[in-house]
Subunit: 247 residues, 2 copies
DNA sequence: ATCGGATTGTAATCCACCTCACACTGGTGG
DNA sequence: CCACCAGTGTGAGGTGGATTACAATCCGAT
C-alpha cells in the first residue's frame, strides 16, 4: 500500500537518543560477527536481547514439524530484529540466520526497557518499528489467503522490490540474491512451481532473471495484473550507519 | 505456544494511568454503539482514533479484489483495535465490523500519543499490545504456509479455543458463534471444505458441532494430530470492565 | 582448469481442493 | 404458526499445484 511501510530504517531509533544514552547502550552491548549461513539465535532460547544489524543480511525463519522452512522476513543493515525480547520472559519461537556474513549489536533487553522508560521518543520509535513490522506481516497474510501461486509470487516480488528494489537501467533490480527455493519458502509453495512461474513471467516480459538474480522490467504491469497500485519509483539504497556503530 | 499471547486483556492499558489521565481521556473520547453487522470503520478512512471495545464483539477484515472476505482477527470486549492510528498520517487498509451489537470508545490518536509521551508505563503497555498482536499474526502465518486445509482448520480451532475457549462439561466450548463460511474466511479455504472437515472431526470424536456452535471435546488429541503442544486448561471468561467505562 | 554441489529447467503423474449444483434443516421474523 | 432464508450437508467433475524423477547448467573451491 504505502512505501512508508518499508522504510523501517527511516524510523531511526537511535537518532532520538542523547549522547549519554548512546554511550550507555554502547557500553552494555556486545558486538558479534557471523559468517554466511550461521545461526544467530535459535528457537526456545531465552529472548533477553534485542539485535541491531550493523552490516550484512539475515533472515528470520521458522521450521515446520515436517522440516519445511518458512521465511518470515529478511532484515537488512540498520534494522532491528528479535524485538519481542523487550517483553520480558519470552522465549524465541523462530530462528534467525545470517544470509551474508553479518555483524550485529546485542542490546540487553533490560537496557532497552530502561531507555524506553526514560525517553518517550525512543519508546514511540520502538513502538512504530514493531507496528510497521506488524503491518508487513498482515499484508503478507492477506496476500496469501485465497490467492493462487502465481498471484502470491507476484505480490512477493513487488514487496521485495519495495524493500530491496534498486533502480537500474533495465528496471528495478533486487539487491538480495534469492534462490527459487527461498521464494517458495516465502509463499508456501514449491521450488518447481516457482521455477515455472518465473519462466512464464520472463516470457511475458515483466521480469528478467538469472541465477539468484531478479530484475522487474515492468513492475507496473505486474502490479496491475494482481489489482495492486503500481509502485512508486524505487530509490537508490541509502547507506545507513547507526549512530554508534562507528567503532 | 504460550497462553500469554492471548491475554491481551490482561495487558491492561488503563490500569497504568493516573486518575487525571483517565479523566482527560474520558473527556476527549466519544462513545458509539453499533448493531450487529454494522461497519465501524472502512478502508481508506483516515486513521485518527484508537478504539476500545467496551462491549460486544467485532471482526477486523479485508476484502480481496475478487470480493472474498478474509478475517484478520476477532476483537473482544475490553480489547483495543485500530491501534495503528497512533502512527499519524496512516489511513485504514482494513475494515472493522460489529459481529454482535457493540459499544466502543473512540480515543483521538493525538490524545493517545500525548499520554504515551508523559507516561512510560502506558507506552510500554501499548507497545506490548501491538507486539502481542503481531505474534498472533505471525503464528497464523506459519500455521497457513505449507499446511493442508485440515491442518489449517485444526490450528484455527485450537487458536480460537485459546482466545474464546470456555470450559464446559463436554469439553472446551467456543464462546463465539462462527459459521462454516467464517471459518473458511479465516483459513483461506471454502465453505464446503470446512463443512466436510468438521464432519470428519466430529466422526473422529474430537469435536461436537451444531449450528454455529463448536465444542472441542478432545483438544489434546487435536493438538497432537498437528504436532502442537496440548493446550493448558481454558479458563472461565472473566468479565472485563475498562477503568473508565462505568458511565 | 576441473570437479562437485548447488541451482535451475522440464515433464508425467496424482491428489487435494475448488467449483458448481442441489437438497435439507432449523431458527427467526412476520 | 408458517414462510423464508441463512446455514449446512453432499456429490460430481475439473484443475492447480505437489510430487517425483531426471537433465542441464553454473559457480566456487581445490
Amino acid at each position: 500500500m504505502k512505501d512508508r511501510m518499508w522504510c523501517l530504517k527511516k524510523c531511526d531509533l537511535f537518532s532520538k537518543m542523547t549522547a549519554d544514552q548512546i554511550q550507555r547502550i554502547e557500553a552494555k552491548s556486545r558486538y558479534r560477527s557471523y559468517s554466511a549461513g550461521k545461526p544467530i539465535y535459535l528457537p526456545s532460547e531465552k529472548a533477553d536481547s534485542v539485535f541491531l544489524l550493523t552490516s550484512g543480511l539475515v533472515k528470520v525463519c521458522n521450521l515446520t514439524p515436517e522440516g519445511k522452512e518458512s521465511i518470515l522476513a529478511f532484515v537488512e543493515q540498520g534494522e532491528l530484529f528479535g524485538e519481542i525480547a523487550i517483553f520480558s520472559g519470552e522465549t524465541r519461537d523462530e530462528y534467525v540466520e545470517a544470509v551474508d556474513s553479518s555483524t550485529v549489536v546485542m542490546i540487553p533487553a533490560e537496557e532497552m526497557d530502561l531507555l524506553m522508560n526514560e525517553n518517550p521518543d525512543v519508546a514511540m520509535a520502538f513502538t512504530k518499528i514493531i507496528g510497521l513490522r506488524r503491518q508487513c506481516i498482515e499484508r503478507r497474510l492477506k496476500n496469501l489467503l485465497f490467492k493462487s501461486n502465481r498471484e502470491r509470487l507476484i505480490h512477493l516480488l513487488l514487496d521485495l522490490a519495495l524493500q530491496f528494489g534498486w533502480a537500474a537501467e533495465d528496471g528495478t533490480r533486487l539487491r538480495v540474491r534469492l534462490s527459487h527455493q527461498d521464494l517458495a519458502n516465502l509463499i508456501g509453495s514449491t521450488r518447481e512451481s516457482v521455477t515455472v512461474i518465473l519462466g512464464q513471467l520472463k516470457s511475458e516480459g515483466t521480469i528478467k532473471n538469472g541465477r539468484r538474480k531478479i530484475v522487474l522490467t515492468n513492475p507496473d504491469r505486474l502490479a496491475r495484473s494482481v489489482h495492486r497500485q503500481p509502485p512508486r519509483s524505487t530509490s537508490q539504497a541509502p547507506r545507513f550507519v547507526p549512530a554508534f556503530a562507528t567503532g
